[in-house]
């Protein structure tokens, strides 16, 4: 029977909704056991599932929900206080229900899983309290919920259970009500025909229904006084045949038709509370308010249909763009006016369709309290979840895509992040860990943050692990910044967990999280403070299908730049070009409001053959700079011509071109030509704007000169067989000439008295050229670079100070020697960058304590 199928579907969808809210509510209950409204809600959810499953003849479901309901009833009456064991049992109940529902969904049967243990647990928990209380004997009189109808008593026959519950607790689902109406109509017809008593079995046969179902419907009618039930299971009209056929019953039926949610009169609370057709199912916020009207005003729509609509709207936007382009050449005002109208309507339609696909992120968040609780219990930890901005909306496809990564991150935060209560207490933190989920819109993107106040990530341990696993070498590790190291958790196969648990620690996951988020155009960043917690920041686009973009031209072709990355446009004309663009060792930079902006020529980056364009530009006397932001770096992209901004429909590139990181996709322009969409992040990486050195410099310079990030000030000097060496000027406190005669010795350590302190000296020549050190005793003075570190100072003895330069440094090759970070070309000459920290450490000047954490480059 198709009707039955529909009813079961409705039942499944509704029950899943209840289950979702149950998860959240139960965890909430554990914390806040005194909230009667919460308890009632939980009770009603379980009760409704029980009722409907009884109606549909799922006895197993009835029996376990019944046991759970009994328990909840005791809770509701205050005879039991929720504790962890109880909540666990109830959560297990939710799992069991879910399992049965899944089985029903797949096979239409309840499945063979044995839930007797659970039922036992549930009833055992009930026995904990006053044994004399028969849980559901007469709950209809319950003070807490007066309108709640009587749930079936435990010993009643299944038929009766079904009858009472269906009667009491119909959900407002349209199809079910419709099915019931049909049955009622049939019954009415039968009564009219015969006008006399009809045996139940015969009724059922005529209606092509199960006996139970007929029984249920009639029970409803009986309640209305429309039919009488005889002892011998025969029904007859209450007064006479006429009254039933033409009077009350028809009215009842018609009234019901008008409003399906009132299909059965005297529907108590639960029906109003069942969000049967809520697009945004399971939102805790909306559940707070009664929403009889809400469910009347919403419909369920297949996501596939929405996807089709979205695609169609995408095509419409393209066509709109084409037409708008044609109108610029048109004189016909009527035509132009209708084109403008079309333009407006399309935009509105697009917004509307986009909105239908938007869902609050709370939809995926509200299962996290349960997840967190389960994991916390499993790890003997205590944690609570806080949420900010749960109503932040995201495209459905994106919601789907981030669901698993977010779950993974939440699990990680509890399993790895939050410490056990004892450890927390020892650190002076509250025993209960806090996990904050935060979502908000910013600059056309959605930011999601997962912040825990746990132990944080120890970079040293990551280093160690990475070296153990052969992912990096020791010198690599020494050179890496903390940020780089933290980002190693996103590398495949990486896990810092000491032991593999069943929750996490297998080292698959973070890399998958990263790939999944990058797949939808998002970025993940991790920040951590040892002992204070970890925060993971995810930025994702609002939607994927249609994006606003700036269209530019380079040579023959046009390109689209997503506006998300766009900061501003700068046009240089005439004299400004010569004055504005300066070269730092072949790297063009532009002073944008006093700050240096490194320039990237699009034609060079894309290796476009027409070198002419740049020349043309300069001849034309204008340069267009598109100022873009990639992660936290700004750079200027020099393009030939800026055309316009336009909404573009993103089309993916085929497999053959996927690897081109410079492009995010393609789009079809108004004139039918194709334009490539630039991937600003990929382009920036290609151009080297995002090198780790550049980042580090951003960090270092941020306090003083926030935007001269591309440059680093270095002290150049010579030491050890005329090698050119450099160290960051920021590490240098003074340059001194010290008379050789002043050098004194303490053990094998050379010292000088310097400004009232003892300063150890390090002969760089000796450190660098292993074994080949020859001091030059003929010299009267030594050149000493005084490096200050937290109050203590160390003198590096060098041969000659060369210069102080401001340069963009990119390490060309990495030396194996510990004391050298790498080699770079500075002032056109090969220069080695010293690892000052290492050198000082190697010189074993332990008696002068210095801070090991001073950052080197």
């Amino acid at each position: 029977m198709d009707d039955m199928d529909d009813i079961i579907k409705e039942f499944l969808v509704e029950s899943y909704e209840y289950l979702n809210s149950l998860d959240t509510d139960l965890v909430e209950l554990e914390k806040n056991s005194s909230d009667p409204e919460l308890l009632n809600r939980i009770f009603r959810s379980v009760h409704t599932i029980k009722g409907t499953s009884g109606f549909l003849g799922y006895n197993k479901l009835v029996s376990i929900t019944h046991a759970g309901e009994g328990l909840l009833d005791l809770l509701r009456k205050g005879r039991l206080v929720p504790d962890e064991a109880l909540t666990s049992a109830l959560l297990q109940l939710v799992d069991a229900i879910r399992q049965i529902l899944e089985s029903i969904e797949a096979t239409r049967k309840e499945g063979n899983a044995d839930h007797s243990a659970l039922s036992e647990t549930l009833s055992r928990l009930q026995d904990k309290e006053v044994a004399s209380v028969v849980p559901a004997e007469n709950p209809g009189t319950s003070a807490a919920l007066p309108v709640e109808p009587a749930p079936a008593s435990a010993d009643s026959a299944p038929d009766e259970v079904a009858a009472v519950n269906t009667d009491a607790d119909p959900t407002s689902s349209g199809s079910k009500a419709f099915a019931q109406l049909q049955t009622l109509e049939t019954l009415r017809g039968l009564c009219e025909q015969t006008g006399q008593s009809i045996p139940l079995a015969q009724l059922a046969e005529k209606c092509d229904l199960k006996k139970d179902t007929v029984h249920n419907h009639l029970a409803a009618l009986r309640k209305e006084g429309l039919v009488r039930m005889r002892k011998n299971n025969t029904y007859e009209p209450a007064t006479n045949a006429d009254a039933l056929s033409t009077g009350t019953l028809r009215n009842g039926v018609e009234a019901s038709t008008a409003s399906p949610s009132q299909a059965i009169p005297k529907v108590p609370g639960p029906a109003q509370d069942s969000p049967s057709a809520v697009m945004s199912e399971g939102m805790p916020e909306t559940r707070e308010t009664p929403k009889a009207s809400f469910s009347d005003n919403t419909i369920r729509v297949d996501v596939e249909l929405l996807d089709t609509l979205m695609n169609l709207v995408g095509e419409l936007v393209l066509t709109r763009n084409q037409i708008v382009q044609f109108t610029t050449a048109q004189r016909d005002t009527a035509f132009v006016a209708s084109a403008q109208h079309l333009n407006l309507i399309t935009t509105e339609l697009q917004e509307g369709v986009m909105k239908t696909r938007m869902q609050p992120i709370g939809n995926i968040w509200n299962k996290f309290p349960r997840v967190v609780r389960d994991i916390a219990v499993a790890c003997n930890k205590k944690a609570r979840v806080e949420m900010e901005g749960a109503d932040t909306e995201l495209d459905k496809t994106i919601i789907e895509a981030i669901k698993d990564p977010l779950t993974h991150l939440v699990r990680n935060a509890i399993d790895h992040g939050i410490e056990t209560p004892e450890v927390r207490a020892a650190c002076g933190k509250p025993a209960e860990g806090r996990l904050l989920l935060r979502a908000f819109h910013e600059g056309g993107q959605v930011n999601i943050e997962i912040i825990d106040d746990g132990g944080g990530i120890n970079p040293e341990r990551i280093k160690q692990k990475a070296i153990e696993r052969g992912m990096i070498t020791q010198p690599d590790a020494a050179r890496m910044s903390d940020r780089e190291i933290l980002h190693m958790v996103f590398m495949p196969g990486f896990s810092t967990a000491k032991e593999v648990s069943n929750i996490s620690g297998r080292g698959v996951g973070m890399d998958v999280v990263k790939t999944n988020i990058e797949k939808i155009g998002g970025t993940v960043d991790v920040q951590s403070k040892l002992g204070h917690g970890t925060s993971i920041k995810i930025k994702i686009p609002l939607t994927l299908a249609i994006i606003p973009a700036l269209i530019i031209r380079m040579g023959e072709d046009r390109y689209a730049i997503p506006q998300v990355n766009l900061l501003e446009l700068v046009r240089l004309e005439g004299e400004q070009i010569k004055k504005g663009i300066e070269m730092i060792h072949n790297t063009p930079v532009y002073r944008l409001r006093g700050k240096l902006l490194s320039l990237v020529y699009l034609n060079q980056e894309l290796q476009l053959s027409d070198q002419a364009s740049q020349a043309t530009q300069e001849r034309q006397g204008a340069i267009n700079i598109v100022v873009l932001q990639a992660e936290d770096q700004n750079f200027g992209l020099v393009v030939e011509e800026i055309i316009d901004t336009e909404e573009v429909v993103v089309k993916p590139l085929s497999k053959q071109l996927k690897h081109l990181s410079a492009f995010a996709g393609a789009t079809i322009m108004g004139d039918g030509k194709i334009a490539l969409i630039l991937d600003v992040l990929g382009l920036a990486e290609r151009a080297g704007v995002l090198s780790e050195e550049a980042r580090a410099r951003t960090k270092a310079d941020k306090s003083t000169q926030p935007n001269t990030t591309e440059l680093q000030t270095l002290l150049l000097f010579k030491a050890g067989q005329n090698r050119r060496l450099a160290i960051p000027l920021s590490m240098v406190s003074r340059l001194e000439e010290i008379p050789t005669a002043n050098v004194e010795w303490a053990g094998d350590q050379e010292l000088v008295q310097y400004r009232g302190h003892l300063m150890p000296l390090i002969q760089l020549s000796r450190v660098l050229s292993v074994g080949g050190y020859q001091s030059d005793p003929g010299q009267e003075f030594m050149q000493v670079v005084v490096c200050g570190q937290n109050g203590s100072t160390v003198g590096l003895v060098v041969d000659e100070i060369v210069d102080v330069v401001e340069e963009q440094v990119s390490l060309q090759s990495r030396k194996r020697q510990d004391s050298i970070l790498g080699v770079a070309v500075i002032q056109g000459k090969v220069t080695e960058l010293l690892n000052v920290k290492r050198i000082i450490g190697a010189a074993d000047v332990a008696l002068f304590e210095h801070d090991e954490t001073t950052e080197v480059i």
Binding site: E315, E556, K651, S654, L657, L660, F663, K673, A675
Partner: protein, 145 residues
């Protein structure tokens, strides 16, 4: 090989190729293309096929054949596989042929390896040889480059 296959045929540098007709979505004339900078040289560009962005791959460089005359505009053979649609640029389109299975032979060992990897076999037709192209492998640039 199954019986009585039909092949959509085309010419490349005087060689005669065939692709299983079921894999060919359509054949269209030369289309304006959008260049893709940084792409491998075999990718000629992108064409707009009724609102769909399709990558065009020039089979001449793909098979290691010489360059086409600048005046000769190539034809597009649109190949559709399960997960991708690609346009093969060829010199000239031939008939749909239904060669006799008896005339099939595996590709001779001696032909250039670049070509041989993309050829499933040879049909000995009257007066000429039909090289059967493996469309999937030809589309997949990662495997053989």
């Amino acid at each position: 090989m199954e019986k009585q296959k039909q092949f959509c045929t085309f010419y490349l540098d005087n060689l005669f190729f065939g692709i299983d007709v079921l894999k060919v979505q359509e054949i269209i004339r030369y289309q304006d293309m959008t260049q893709v900078p940084l792409a491998p040289p075999v990718i000629s560009g992108l064409i707009n096929l009724r609102g769909q962005v399709v990558t065009a791959m020039d089979l001449r460089p793909r098979l290691g054949l010489g360059k086409r005359n600048a005046d000769d505009l190539p034809m597009n053979v649109i190949i559709r596989t399960e997960d991708d649609t690609v346009s093969f640029l060829v010199d000239e389109i031939g008939d749909v042929v239904e060669p006799d299975e008896d005339t099939f032979e595996l590709p001779p060992e001696t032909i250039g390896s670049g070509l041989r990897k993309l050829i499933n076999g040879v049909y000995k037709l009257d007066g000429q040889l039909l090289l059967v192209m493996d469309a999937e492998r030809t589309m997949d640039l990662t495997a053989s480059t």
